[in-house]
C-alpha cells in the first residue's frame, strides 16, 4: 500500500481534486496586550483588524461565496464580542487561537488559558469551538491532551506534513483527532509582509505557484492570513491578493473550498485514509 506521503490521489469531499482552506487569524490587540504593550501609535495595528480588516475580508468572502475559518484569541473575542458572534451566526466556523495570542509556550499556565478561551468563545458564539490554531506556532503534547479533553477534534498548527493526518501523542496514534497542517513560511502573509516586505502582486504570484504545485500533487492547500495592517493582509491591496488567489483557484477543475472543521470531520469519518507512516519519527 502506498504511504500517505507518497499517495497522489485522495478522497476529498465531493470527489474534489484539491481542497482549499482559507484561514483568517483575528490577531487583534491581543498580541500587544500579551506583551504588556499599549496598542496605541505604531503599536495600534491590531486595532485595524476589527475596524477595517475583518469587515473587508467578510465582504470579499461573501462576494465570492466561499467558506472560510476564523481563529480567534480569547482576549480579542472579549474586545469584539458582537463582531465574533455575527460571524459565527453567519455560519463561519470559529476556532480558538490562544487567550492573549501567547507568543511563547505558556507552560503550566496553558491548560487554564485554553479552557478560558474555550469557555469565552462558547459563551459568545453559542457554539463550542472544535478546532484550534496555535498562536505563534507553539504546540506540545500537553496542548493536545487539553484540547482533546475540551472536545477538540483538530488543530491547524503543524508544519511537518503536506496533508491532513491522524495525530499521534503520548506514543499513540489517535483516530479521533486530526492535524490539518499549515505552513507559516510560504503559505502565510506574515513572512512576505513582515520579513521580506514583498509587494502584494508578488505575494499573490507566490501563492499561485504554491497552488500549482499542490494542485498537481496532493491537493491540500491551507492559506493563513491576518486582517491587521503591518504583517497582515487587512489593507485593500492585500485583501485583493487573497481574492486573486481565490479567483485563480476557481479557474481550476475540481477545486473545493472547505471549512477546516468540515475537512477534519471528513477525515475522521475515514481515519484509515489519513494514517501517516511514523517509522523513523
Amino acid at each position: 500500500m502506498t504511504s500517505l506521503a507518497q499517495r497522489r490521489q485522495h478522497a476529498w469531499p465531493d470527489g474534489a481534486r484539491c481542497v482549499v482552506g482559507l484561514t483568517l487569524d483575528f490577531d487583534g490587540t491581543s498580541l500587544e496586550r500579551g506583551r504588556g504593550q499599549l496598542p496605541f501609535g505604531a503599536r495600534s495595528h491590531g486595532r485595524y483588524s476589527a475596524k477595517c480588516g475583518i469587515p473587508r475580508f467578510v465582504d470579499m468572502f461573501a462576494r465570492h461565496n466561499v467558506p472560510w475559518t476564523f481563529y480567534v484569541s480569547g482576549y480579542d473575542a472579549e474586545e469584539s464580542p458582537d463582531l465574533v458572534r455575527a460571524i459565527a451566526r453567519s455560519g463561519v466556523e470559529i476556532g480558538s487561537h490562544g487567550y492573549l495570542h501567547e507568543g511563547v509556550d505558556p507552560g503550566d499556565a496553558e491548560p487554564e488559558l485554553l479552557e478560558r478561551t474555550h469557555l469565552l468563545l462558547t459563551e459568545i458564539t453559542g457554539i463550542a469551538p472544535r478546532g484550534w490554531r496555535s498562536p505563534s506556532g507553539h504546540k506540545t503534547a500537553r496542548t493536545l491532551r487539553k484540547l482533546r479533553e475540551l472536545g477538540y477534534v483538530y488543530d491547524s498548527s503543524d508544519k511537518d506534513f503536506d496533508l491532513p493526518y491522524l495525530a499521534r501523542y503520548d506514543g499513540e496514534e489517535r483516530s479521533d483527532y486530526v492535524c490539518l497542517p499549515n505552513n507559516t513560511s510560504s503559505l502565510d502573509d506574515f513572512p512576505f509582509y513582515r520579513v521580506s516586505y514583498t509587494p502584494p502582486s508578488e505575494v499573490l504570484n507566490h501563492w499561485r505557484q504554491e497552488f500549482d504545485a499542490i494542485y498537481a500533487e496532493g491537493g491540500y492547500y491551507n492559506l493563513t492570513f491576518h486582517p491587521r495592517v503591518g504583517y497582515g493582509s487587512g489593507s485593500p491591496a492585500r485583501v485583493a491578493a487573497v481574492e486573486g488567489l481565490i479567483a485563480y483557484a476557481r479557474q481550476h477543475e475540481g477545486v473545493r473550498f472547505v471549512g477546516m472543521l468540515e475537512l477534519a470531520q471528513w477525515c475522521l469519518e475515514r481515519p484509515a485514509d489519513w494514517r501517516r507512516d511514523w517509522s523513523g519519527q
Partner: protein
C-alpha cells in the same frame, strides 16, 4: 469645504540629528552617525523643493529641539504653506521610564508656538510610542488631532482613547518610507509596493497618508529617491477624486 472623495496627506517627520543625539553626544556625530545631519544640510530642501514643485502642502512633524536649532527654516516652511505640527522634543520614547511627558509636550508646544507664530494643532509621537496619558495631555494643550496611529482607513474620534474632542488622522506603516528603505528595499520595489497599496486604497476611497523623512538612510531625500517619489506623486495627482490636504485640514473636515 466640501468633503473630498480621497484625501491624500503628505506628512514629513523632520528627523535630523536628534535621532542620533538621543544616544550619542555631538562629538560622535560623524561617519555612520552623521545621517541625521544630512537633513538640514541637503535633505529638507530637496524634499520640500519637490513638494513645492508639485504644489503639495505637507504636514511637517518637527521635534521641538530641531525647531529650536533651525527656527528660520521652520518659520520659512510655514510661509511656503506647510503645516508645522509637534513631534516630541528630541526623539524621546514617551513610554520610557523617567520621562516627564507633560513637561516635554509643553516645552515642545511653547517652542513651536514661538517659532511658528501660532500653536501647533497636531502631534505625532516620536517612534510612534504613546502612553495612556499622551492624548489627555494633548487635549489639555488644545491639540485638534493626533497622527500617530496606524489602525484605520479613515480619520476617527479619539474621545474613547483619552483624546477629548480630538481627531485621529491615521497613517499607514506600509506608506512610511522608513518601513521599506530601512529594510534596504530598492527604489523600484518600494514604489511598486506603494503604487499597489495606494491604487487599492484609492479604489476603496480610503484616506491616503504618505510619511517621508528628509534623511539619506531610512528617508526619501537622496536624489535618486526624490526622483522615484517625483514619479509617484505625479501618478497620485492623476488619480480621480484625489485632493492633497494637510492633516489639519483633514481633521477640520471630519
Amino acid at each position: 469645504m466640501t468633503k473630498v472623495p480621497v484625501p491624500v496627506a503628505v506628512t514629513v517627520n523632520l528627523q535630523g540629528k536628534t535621532v542620533e543625539l538621543a544616544h550619542l553626544g555631538e562629538d560622535a556625530l560623524f561617519g555612520r552617525a552623521s545621517y541625521g545631519k544630512y537633513a538640514y544640510a541637503v535633505g529638507c530642501e530637496r524634499l520640500f523643493g519637490l513638494l513645492d514643485r508639485h504644489g503639495i502642502k505637507a504636514t511637517v512633524f518637527v521635534p521641538g529641539a530641531e525647531a529650536e536649532a533651525n527656527p528660520d527654516y521652520i518659520a520659512a516652511l510655514v510661509q511656503r504653506g506647510h503645516e508645522i505640527a509637534a513631534h516630541g522634543w528630541a526623539m524621546e520614547e514617551l513610554d520610557a521610564p523617567q520621562i516627564d511627558e507633560r513637561a516635554l509636550l509643553e516645552r515642545t508646544h511653547a517652542t513651536l508656538t514661538r517659532i511658528v507664530g501660532h500653536p501647533p494643532r497636531g502631534f505625532r509621537a516620536p517612534h510612534g510610542k504613546l502612553t495612556r496619558h499622551t492624548l489627555g495631555h494633548l487635549a489639555d494643550l488644545g491639540y485638534r488631532y493626533d497622527a500617530s496611529f496606524q489602525d484605520d482607513d479613515h480619520p476617527y474620534r479619539l474621545d474613547a482613547d483619552g483624546g477629548r474632542g480630538m481627531i485621529e488622522v491615521p497613517h499607514a506603516e506600509i506608506l512610511i518610507d522608513a518601513t521599506l528603505y530601512a529594510q534596504r528595499q530598492t527604489h523600484d520595489r518600494a514604489m511598486k509596493t506603494w503604487r499597489e497599496e495606494i491604487e487599492a486604497m484609492h479604489r476603496e476611497q480610503c484616506m491616503i497618508a504618505l510619511t517621508l523623512h528628509p534623511r539619506s538612510d531610512y528617508g526619501s531625500a537622496r536624489a535618486s529617491r526624490i526622483a522615484a517619489l517625483d514619479g509617484l506623486l505625479s501618478w497620485v495627482r492623476g488619480l480621480d477624486g484625489v485632493s492633497f490636504l494637510t492633516c489639519g485640514e483633514i481633521a477640520d473636515q471630519f
